[in-house]
């Protein structure tokens, strides 16, 4: 098979720091190429260079064997090289259809052909098996829905080369399946695909060719079937990984958080739950089940929420972030770009933003720097300097910074929405261990995750949400994929909804 797009001897520097060292890499038609590596290894940087969004400092990008002089992403796109970025690239004020066709609008004469674009967008989304309304505004969509729009946008480009930067990180298994189907289809059509992912099962399932990156250099290459998931992890991290999930040796204490009949208009109906000290409570469900809304309501971030909530027996007013904060509740958002980090501000300012009152009336810069050092060490944040803007961190390192920021408030109750989105296997382990350690110290943890193995491996108890309600609870040894999926899809329930008709439990 011919090599369509190729990097030859590419290095890239940001300021004085060289993040890629002499990368050689080729994408072939009809083949899926997976790029894996730790957070900050340089995966996104490689993809941006391939897509024309960044120029290599040294070396060349070759398209069909001759130097490709892309000076910009759009130029590359015009030549059939399309990138789905790790950060979202959607205009929040425009609708789904507008975004999908932005820059390539369909027109009839001078007039935009709204109907055709809506139809085409609807078809694309249909193929992706989502129910997103093409007329919805991006700002009103949930994070996974936005990711699906991003994928639809890329698919609409009829690419020869499709490069996907962690396309599945923000998706639940339902959309992931749709994505896989598209990948298989495109491969069959002879498109050259590249993706990166921290889900190694996915890599094993999809990739025809694997390139492993460590600290900006290629450390190993393999073709389909040559590497097991464990071997991938070892190659990435450079050492053996054992015991992925730490043991659940929980000693559950007294009730820490009690929520009764919590409702968020349009998203959550009468949710009740209790959380004990030392417990990790998982919340599972499909996209749009209302998990994020529930967590945000508990954290006081949803105006208009009703119900009752107590922390250690003390009533906490709803819809009041600061009261929730004072009661020791902290929420780690799934939307790190829009709600989590100030992308243009230095790492240190981001880290201490939620806990500034602990740094004195005159902010103690030295103490801040110490906190940054500690966080860098504890959460293994790979950054060139604490003064760099958070937006220049690699995706996974942003997530680690967000985690560090949340923990700096020293909460009693931590609600973590998608704790390991975009985090590499090595660090995932550290984070799981960290969560267990927090629980062991007597904190209460709520983990919302779309990765079922994560919920299963981590939680002592799992609540399953479906259409804004808590559909049921699984505990102890019954925490299995099947048990959760059944509840999440409402299998056995009386009414037959879309999901039920469309797919069977995995």
């Amino acid at each position: 098979m011919e090599t369509v797009l190729e990097l030859s001897g590419v290095t890239r520097c940001f300021g004085p720091v060289e993040v890629l060292h002499g990368i050689d890499l080729g994408l072939r038609a009809g083949e899926v190429h997976a790029l894996i590596g730790e957070n900050g290894a340089g995966k996104s940087t490689i993809m941006k260079i391939l897509g024309g969004y960044l120029a290599p400092t040294e070396g060349q990008v070759l398209l069909d064997g001759s130097p490709a002089a892309f000076s910009s992403g759009p130029e590359a796109e015009a030549r059939g090289v399309v990138v789905i970025h790790q950060e979202f690239n959607l205009a929040p004020d425009l609708t789904v259809a507008d975004n999908i066709f932005l820059g390539r609008e369909m027109t009839r004469g001078w007039r935009l052909d709204h109907a055709a674009m809506r139809r085409a967008a609807g078809d694309l989304l249909e193929e992706l098996d989502t129910r997103i309304d093409p007329r919805a505004r991006i700002r009103d969509l949930s994070v996974p829905d936005r990711q699906m729009v991003e994928i639809a946008k890329a698919l609409s480009r009829n690419a020869r080369v499709l490069i996907m930067d962690e396309p599945s990180a923000a998706l639940t298994h339902r959309e992931v399946d749709a994505l896989y189907a598209q990948v298989d289809r495109l491969r069959a059509e002879g498109v050259a695909l590249m993706f990166c992912s921290h889900r190694l099962d996915e890599v094993a399932r999809l990739a025809d060719r694997i390139t492993v990156l460590r600290d900006g250099s290629v450390v190993s290459r393999a073709t389909r079937g040559e590497m097991t998931e464990d071997q991938m992890a070892t190659a990435m991290v450079g050492r053996e990984l054992t015991d992925f999930f730490p043991p659940k040796d929980t000693l559950t204490g007294n009730v820490l958080l009690e929520v009764q009949d919590l409702s968020v208009p349009g998203a959550v109906d009468d949710a009740s739950l209790t959380l004990h000290r030392g417990e990790v409570l998982g919340i599972a469900g499909l996209v749009g089940a209302g998990r994020t809304e529930l967590a945000e309501a508990i954290a006081g971030l949803r105006p208009g929420s009703t119900g009752r909530m107590t922390v250690s027996g003390e009533a906490v007013p709803l819809a009041d972030v600061r009261a929730a904060g004072r009661a020791g509740i902290a929420y780690l958002t799934e939307d790190r770009k829009e709600a989590g980090l100030l992308l243009t501000k230095p790492l240190t300012e981001n880290l201490t933003l939620a806990a500034l009152d602990r740094f004195g009336f005159r902010i103690d810069r030295a103490a801040e720097a110490r906190a940054m050092d500690d966080a860098t060490r504890e959460f293994d944040i790979r950054a060139a300097s604490p003064d760099m803007p958070a937006g220049a961190l690699s995706g996974g390192n942003q997530q680690k910074l967000l985690l560090a920021k949340t923990m700096l408030t020293e909460p009693q109750i931590v609600l973590i929405d998608e704790p390991t989105r975009g985090i590499d296997v090595g660090t995932k382990r550290q984070i799981y261990a960290f969560i267990r350690r927090l629980a062991a110290e007597g904190h209460g943890i709520i983990v919302i995750s779309s990765e079922l193995p994560e919920v299963i491996g981590l939680a002592d108890r799992v609540l399953v949400m479906r259409q804004g309600r808590i559909a049921g609870e699984v505990e102890g040894d019954v925490i299995t994929e099947e048990g959760i999926v059944r509840l999440a899809m409402g299998v056995g329930a009386d009414h037959h909804d879309a999901e039920h008709k469309n797919r069977e439990p995995a």
């Binding site: 759009p74 690239n89 929040p92 004020d93 975004n99 932005l102 820059g103 390539r104 609008e105 007039r111």
Partner: protein, 323 residues
């Protein structure tokens, strides 16, 4: 659609309320003659505000429009006066004058736009600078006084402001056409779509192969052209231009745009909201003149209160917007 309607209702309700108040205060308010006056007066600011909607929607701002209008009116009058001895008092001369106005507007818009997009200076500063420049130039050209159009030409040119189809005069017709075209451009053309995309997130637009600088530049040129058009309608009204022509038009135009529901930070443009905003502003003035109030000194205060109230009606929506 369902959502948009609701959002637009705010200023529309305010406009309807104003019309009702006006009619109650003085029956003459609804007479065609008065409506014709109010609408024709709105036309200058209206044309400019339609252009301003595009500029604000793409994330820009233009403070220079008022003095730009004065300056263009000045050069148009000077050009026509200079031509009279050569071409005589006829429509040919006036049409050349109109072309000067249009060309002047487009050039001034291009100048603003080029400084903003090519030299990458904040629009606020560029247009604050050109505002001072145009204002000074017109004062200088008129020697601190007034530039007046040749009286023969004036007589010929007057009907462009004062006549039309019945009481629907040319300024009203022009404004209506431009408003409809503007709304259409914003909603149904690639240009409008790109303007919104750039205002919403210019990096995304750039990544989507939108010619960000080009579209930005075009929005300033469009605004400049509309300022030129407004001048073409303004000159026949009083036949003069001076250093005090068009003072504070920029503020009025920007206010109309924002009252109409376009956000100052860009991203969504509502041309027809802008039209409603312009009408609200000129009706307030008209009603204050028609009604007998405590003291004319307080007109400004009443105006201020009404402007705020007109926007309060939009508030509900935004409160829920705020996740």
């Amino acid at each position: 659609m369902r959502r948009i309607d609701f959002h637009l209702l705010g200023p529309l309700i305010a406009l309807i309320a104003l019309i009702i108040i006006g009619a109650l205060l003085n029956p003459a308010f609804l007479a065609p003659a008065n409506l014709s006056n109010v609408l024709a007066r709105s036309a200058f600011i209206g044309l400019i505000a339609v252009g301003m909607t595009f500029v604000i929607t793409q994330g820009g701002l233009d403070l220079s429009v008022g003095s730009m209008a004065a300056f263009i009116a000045g050069i148009t009058i000077m050009a026509m006066n200079a031509l009279v001895p050569i071409t005589g008092v006829n429509w040919g001369t006036i049409i050349i004058g109109m072309m000067v106005a249009m060309a002047g507007g487009l050039a001034a818009g291009l100048f603003n736009g080029a400084l903003i997009t090519r030299a990458r200076i904040e629009p606020f500063i560029v247009t604050l600078g050109t505002m001072g420049i145009y204002r000074s130039l017109v004062t200088w050209l008129s020697d601190g006084g007034t530039l007046s159009l040749d009286s023969g030409l004036r007589t010929l040119y007057r009907p462009v402001y004062f006549s039309g189809i019945g009481w629907i005069t040319w300024p009203i017709i022009t404004f209506a056409i431009v408003a409809i075209l503007g709304e259409w451009m914003m909603r149904h053309t690639r240009f409008g779509r790109h303007v919104e995309a750039i205002g919403s997130n210019d990096r995304v637009a750039r990544y989507s192969a939108v010619d960000v600088e080009g579209v930005r530049l075009a929005s300033y040129v469009l605004l400049g052209g509309l300022v030129g058009l407004a001048t073409i309608l303004y000159v026949p009204r009083l036949g003069s231009a001076s250093g005090s022509t068009g003072v504070l038009w920029e503020l009025e135009a920007i206010a109309a745009v924002i009252i109409g529901g376009t956000m100052l930070k860009g991203g969504t443009g509502r041309v027809w909201g802008t039209v409603v905003g312009v009408l609200i502003l000129s009706m307030i003035d008209n009603i204050l003149n028609l009604a007998d109030l405590v003291s004319p000194y307080l007109n400004g205060a009443i105006q201020g209160v009404i402007i705020v109230l007109a926007v309060v009606l939009q508030r509900e929506k935004r409160a829920t917007d705020n996740r």
